[in-house]
Assembly symmetry: C2
Homo-oligomer: 706 residues x 2
């Protein structure tokens, strides 16, 4: 692990080891005294609880693991020693919502002994003012070296029947719409919470995914997730809905086991964020802080990316990734595409891609994604096919050399696309040649995909095997100075701090669902509380034509958003990778609104959450990296929202002009989504703005110094 790019460690307080001479229960509070953890061993069982400003957040909850190849580690423990220390440092991410991040916590290390089995286990807590992270550590001492996890049994005992924003627990998909309900109602709403997916495996009628956002009746916002998921299986939560106790539920492997570990090692951090202000949950850096510093010496090649792509035409427009209808069954290497008849619905062709390149160059986009450029799409999906793509052979109508040269001549890059169909052995076998091809033609970013059931068969998208693969793809890409945006991969857990060429993930229901069946209008008011806690999402906003029938007569889809809100998402959905997902023809009809997408940065010096309530609204303001411009975005649910903004984040000594992209008075996400107004206004740090978001609407503001 290398620390070179932590440019300023402000202070690391000497880790003052306060070893108790006689180990006993320990309380540890956060640096500001806001959050307190109580840790103990009761009747041989390690337990913990969490308070926030004196209020219980997590009641006494058991900790431990069941093993598949030995006695469980759920009891019989003795507390040997507790040690506390404090850290206060500031680090600078390669890209992010803020150019500097403070990492300030108090730490408690509980050393445990399981004398009957001669085994040792540590539990390490880090207590922040906005929450807690803890993990199990397995030292090399003792007899535990190789072990197999049957199940991790980490409890999170809630204090009541909280309101939750949740999606169904599933080993293979995260692409569900969020449901808002009481914990006691999850079981009854589970059936409706599940829609079909190319690969899906639920495990419990009360199983949910993390990051799970909750709110208590007395106004506490609680969020459970994990950080630094490396070489371990992804955690779900299973709810005891009589007692409101969540227990960890890991993703199994092909044999039903949940992890193969070798000491010394540790689990990912289990995280509980808490605040009485919803905005603190959005602003929290707890997940990133719990991850390791950057692993790369040189990160100069990692650049945020704004891009367009040959994609929405296929997602919403009825066009095809494939090239021909002549090949219902494809065996790569045994056929010659040049002798097949093109079906003529293949937009990844030279002429069309050049059109996108021209558009990208004209409007200042960095890259053009092209999906469907490579052979195999006639037969890519749903058959557990092993050799499904080779990742290097273009279709006859895609001249990879010419198109890259053409793009580069215009200051634009093409973005690579690697759909794997879940066949990861095949992908790993071709990975080096695929990355070599990217090097050869000047690609520096790849969108990868894992649609369908996994190969090796029996493995799941979020198991240890695949989690290991996703990170392998990222670290191998780094050797080629390639950035990775992996779709259908495991939900992020802050690993982008350590591996910042992981510039995006999907891992939730993105804009594509608007063309399939729609997302709830509240969707983008939930995602920043949940999915985005772990890292950026390639949400692909910027759809201006909401009525999918106008794009494709066969489509039933409707984009559940106003046009103004589509602009706002570039601010509210933080990502260093942002797509303008609609087609150039549509943008050409709305060039005035499109200006915001052209202007909005993809990297920031500072971010503020001005107003927020999960499922209702989010208003964010961000200052451009290395600039003085600010951008504000608001997304609202189906009720709309009225903001009272104070622009006190602006430099008091400066005057600004604000360009306001707002819903028109009669705008409505369902009936009148394209009604927007664009106004300009002189503003300064004392300005108060009354803004209104229509139902399913929002607004976007660019604020530039005069």
């Amino acid at each position: 692990m290398r620390f070179n790019n932590i440019q300023a460690i402000v202070s690391v307080m000497a880790a003052a080891a306060i070893a108790s001479t006689e180990a006993s229960a320990a309380d540890l509070s956060s640096p500001g005294g806001i959050v307190t953890v109580h840790a103990d061993v009761v009747g041989g069982v390690p337990v913990y609880s969490i308070d926030y400003k004196g209020k219980p957040v997590v009641k006494t909850s058991a900790l431990g693991l069941e093993l598949a190849d030995g006695p469980d580690m759920t009891g019989g423990f003795k507390l040997i020693e507790t040690t506390t220390s404090s850290t206060d440092e500031t680090w600078h991410p390669v890209w992010g919502e803020n150019s500097s991040i403070r990492n300030n916590y108090n730490e408690l290390l509980m050393r445990l002994d399981q004398p009957e089995h001669y085994r040792k286990m540590n539990i390490r807590f880090r207590v922040y003012d906005d929450g807690v992270g803890f993990r199990y550590e397995f030292p090399a001492e003792g007899v535990l070296t190789y072990f197999i996890i049957k199940e991790e049994k980490t409890q999170f005992a809630m204090t009541g029947d909280h309101t939750a924003w949740w999606i169904a627990g599933d080993y293979d998909t995260q692409e569900y719409d969020y449901t808002e309900c009481r914990l006691s109602e999850i079981r009854g709403k589970m059936k409706d919470a599940i829609c079909s997916n190319a690969s899906q495996t639920q495990f419990s009628p009360t199983g949910v995914q993390t990051s799970l956002q909750m709110k208590t009746d007395d106004g506490l916002y609680i969020n459970i997730h994990e950080a630094a998921l490396v070489d371990y299986s992804c955690m779900h939560l299973n709810l005891d809905d009589k007692n409101f106790v969540f227990t960890s539920w890991l993703t199994p492997d092909a044999q039903g086991n949940k992890g193969h570990l070798q000491s010394p090692c540790h689990t990912p951090w289990r995280t509980v964020m808490v605040s009485d202000d919803a905005r603190d949950i959005l602003a929290s850096n707890l997940i990133l802080n719990l991850n390791d510093p950057c692993a790369y010496d040189d990160t100069s090649w990692i650049k945020p990316v704004k891009y367009i792509g040959v994609w929405w035409e296929m997602i919403g427009g009825g066009k095809q990734w494939s090239y021909t209808n002549d090949l219902p069954s494809v065996k790569l290497g045994q056929l010659d595409y040049t002798s097949t008849k093109p079906h003529g619905q293949h937009p990844a062709n030279n002429e069309n891609v050049k059109k996108y390149i021209d558009f990208a160059a004209r409007h200042g986009f960095d890259q053009v994604l092209v999906e469907g450029w490579n052979v195999g799409w006639e037969d890519w999906f749903g058959h557990s096919k092993d050799y499904v793509f080779d990742f290097v052979t273009p279709y006859p109508d895609f001249d990879i050399k010419m198109l890259n040269e053409y793009a580069h001549s215009k200051g634009v890059r093409l973005m690579m696309h690697h759909e794997t169909s879940g066949s990861v052995r095949n992908y790993e076998r071709h990975m080096q040649k695929a990355y070599d091809l990217m090097d050869k033609y000047g690609y520096n970013a790849v969108k990868s995909g894992y649609v369908g059931n996994m190969i090796p068969r029996g493995e799941h998208h979020y198991g240890q095997w695949l989690n290991n693969h996703y990170l392998y793809a990222v670290t191998e890409a780094a050797k080629h100075h390639i950035m990775v945006n992996a779709h259908e991969a495991v939900r992020p857990t802050g690993l982008c701090r350590t591996y910042p060429n992981l510039i995006g993930n999907e891992s939730a229901r993105g804009t594509e669902y608007e063309s399939f069946a729609g997302n709830k209008p509240s969707h983008t008011t939930v995602l920043p509380f949940t999915r985005l806690q772990g890292g950026p999402m390639d949400y692909t906003p910027g759809i201006f034509e909401m009525d999918m029938k106008k794009v494709n007569p066969q489509s039933q889809g409707h984009v559940n958003s106003t046009l103004a809100r589509q602009l706002a998402l570039y601010v509210t959905m933080y990502s260093p990778l942002q797509m303008a997902a609609d087609v150039p023809e549509v943008y050409n009809r709305f060039m005035d609104a499109f200006q915001f997408i052209k202007d909005v940065p993809v990297d920031w010096d500072e971010s503020r959450y001005l107003e927020a309530e999960p499922g209702r609204y989010i208003v964010a303001a961000r200052k451009a990296k290395g600039g003085d411009d600010w951008y504000v975005g608001c997304t609202a649910n189906e009720d709309g929202y009225e903001s009272a903004l104070s622009l006190d984040f602006l430099d008091p000594g400066k005057k600004y002009e604000a360009t306001i992209y707002a819903d028109a008075k009669d705008a409505d996400y369902l009936t009148n989504p394209q009604a927007y107004t664009i106004t300009t206004k002189k503003v300064n740090a004392k300005t108060k703005l009354k803004m209104k978001a229509a139902p399913g609407g929002g607004y976007a503001i660019s604020i530039k110094p005069l």
Copy 2:
């Protein structure tokens, strides 16, 4: 597929399509009229039977497959058409027992329809004078494209309670001693037939492996195996021991399925060899002939290899693959071996390897295998460890550059060793760099290994996933002009014809077991009938010190062979890769006998089996490739054997000197194994030789023109 290296196709008879206007049962005989197949559809079920010189060999037996994802393909068939054709060609292997091989068969193609399910299936029979091959073919026509095999249901109905030489059916090991008994006795002898192995999974009390050798009471030798096992799971046989009917039993994947197929495709060939002369079974080229021609344009880089190695010291001598005792648990990349204390029992060190190189150079060996050269051996086995080796990092005492340069300066190469511990994802991830390292230092052959349970977990050594991997390792190696000798891989099925850089396999109980617990004295009289049918075995003969206690006081092992027989194995156990497995110190004590090992070639123009009876004795004579020397070898079981040899294979116009390495009169594999005589004698084509093999003994003769 490329055919360039079939240097002489003598004749391919025009494939005379004799389509029946009304399809009905078909009989097809071999070119010499010796073997006849009868094929039919009875009550919707495809069936076949086989006769040999009018005697039934396989009684009417059903054909078909059960599917996991659709209706079975075991009935409801209609016979649409039968087509016959004939082929007579001669091809020249890159290496082999003979420099030219005749492939002469009549072929019957049965086209079947399963009208209820709109599916088609063909069954193709090839009938040779020494047996039959048949396979299922799934054409692209019809609705069957992707399908999952639940079980292949190919019957082999025997005519009686034959004697069989068998090992227990197992998904993960072939390293069992052979049992000779009646079919009806298999169930009762199963328990004793199984010994422990690092990875083993039996499936039935009457399950056996192929190649299965049998003998009928009226003197027919019958052998069941398979040919060209590619992208399919390996077949075992399950016996109905009331009716003496074997049914195919495939190796399952992690989900219990037995194959994922995509049409057009076909199964491997199922083979039944038959003769009334046991020598014909040994001399048969049926398995090779059923494989595809060589897939490589250039094979000039493929060379048979005679080698010694740093190996028996660890197998039998108590030395270690590992370097230190300081690391009971190893995480590669996280430790520095140079700071550990060597345990001093690591023979893969510079000094010792140089000693082997010197010995190899002095005695004309091509290569020196070095096992234990690379880091990780302290913790390589038994823990389902994923990242177990990196295949590129030498131990501190192994100077890979110096040793290769030293070897090359003496006209010797080092042989690479890649133990994978069954972690094949890890091996595939490192494979290119491992092969690159071999290129860099001038290695051109690798011994690979797959000890222990497989990763991906739940997969078996002989399932489709791994079979795909073994072939991938071979074809990727070919790109680097590297030859592969894979241990613990699936039993060979003649693929060395198509991929002749597959110069060896283990896939049975080799000489190493002599140091563990011994093989039955009859072992080497069975292997050529069974294991060697599919391709060469790296049996590692040449052990001169039979009493393992003299090598390692801790050892209980005893080599169940006389020294003379150890020489004979270089002739009786055909392989283009032959090791002299004992240590130089031992060979130095027996330099007169060692001369035979120095002399014996590893490639041949012609081979003859002079005398043979499974489980009793084998006498083979072979003529050196491109030379006039002949070599004769005899191996006998615990009863010994008396040969009456006619040297009529010699050139009638030439005189020869024979050097005879024989058991001394009082030799015995248990009590006096090192008693041998070496005599010379003038011989010619009219010479008759009476030779005697001691119990567990044999003899070896080199015959050189004067």
